[in-house]
Symmetry: D2
Subunit: 135 residues, 4 copies
């Protein structure tokens, strides 16, 4: 079952067109990823320092299907899947809540695990691999 | 009793110093203001369009007392107080939760109500005035 | 010849990993698009109001090839191409300047022109169509 | 003579009220500070690592005098002044260019130099002290 992250759209997310600025959909999805990791016992602020690894996003794809305005209530789902020993993808759906739920965006990110110093690819640390596998 | 807004620090809030970028404390306080208005039945996306007014921030002051890192849990309190017929202030406290609560920032904003077209000062719309007075 | 936009990486672009937060690459590319339109005599703040149209981004794809740090100097190129009567794409390259130039990201966005009120697809206004065609 | 930083307002700076979101004035002033340091030979990305110090903003004050819209051209001036052995202030003026120049905001920040590890106050590194004194 994918992780569900509740989110409200704030003024800071919007731009002069009156709706969420498209790069902010990706930032909101990254929040869902952070919360999913946190719920799995992985704290972003210490985990990567402890393991000596970082997991940068190397690709993203997004379809922006509906505008979102200040005050909109969302549910963001995050579903990871393994790609290789040192990489994984996450599929996100951004759902606008209301009398009828509507999908507002579909986002996919790819993440590669690297050594923080050498920047060589390394295997996912076990807790992260477990989270990906459980997705 | 001041309004209490719970917030978690996300990656998007931080900068290369590893902590929350100082302008983002103000953005986080503005979220608390939006949520306080919403809890009082005032939806930012429609209220100002309906009343023909906007309430820009004309001043801000902030003391940044403690760094905040990704994953930190906060409680932000927002306490409004009237200044004139067409203006009010809000005091915010950003509290970092944990075994011992610590104040991370004190912020104060001033807001002036103006006509969206003429940009002349106008009296606060009644629901907003009521929210300020109840602060 | 594609439009060239010079940009320096600032603290506000970075995150706690010490490098540019990936959604901010898209925001930087959008700046290049705005500057390209401006150079073609199209001012974002008035053009869309005057024509009654908006041109939201409906898709984005990005490859993040190299980390960027505070102080890095960039050249962002933006090359538009027509898709249909009411849509176009832009290819961006984010180049990190230095003794050896390095490509830091490739980004592609798709834009659809719609009526600001009905949100029905409409043909690109002539100056925008001309800019796309000249790409 | 204060440092002059030219800046154009972009979509990413604005919010659904159609103007620059007030915390972003502070981010724009911080860009001017970064550029002023860079012009003085101080690169943010290496200087603080090399000296083992960081210089967080501990206070900010701002008056937001005029709205700014997408496409507005600015000149931001930054004038530092020493406070103590380990702290300094910067006064910023955000000027909107045009047929008549208009001041759009006045901002003041206070910065304290601390050891990056112990977080104890330490004297400003010499190049930074020189920049403050030359302000």
């Amino acid at each position: 079952m994918p992780f569900h992250y509740p989110r409200t759209i704030h003024f800071a997310d919007t731009d002069a067109a009156g709706v969420v600025f498209f790069p902010n959909y990706l930032a909101i999805c990254h929040e869902a990823y952070e919360e999913a990791l946190s719920a799995a016992g992985i704290g972003l602020n210490t985990f990567f320092a402890q393991t000596g690894t970082v997991v940068p996003v190397v690709k993203s794809e997004a379809e922006y299907l509906r505008p979102l305005v200040c005050g909109d209530k969302l549910r963001v789902t995050a579903t990871p899947s393994g790609l290789t020993m040192n990489s994984f993808a996450i599929r996100f759906e951004v759902i606008r809540l209301g009398t009828a739920e509507k999908i507002a965006a579909r986002v996919r990110t790819e993440h590669v695990c690297i050594d923080a110093k050498t920047r060589e690819r390394v295997a996912l640390p076990a807790p992260l691999a477990a989270w990906v596998q459980a997705g």
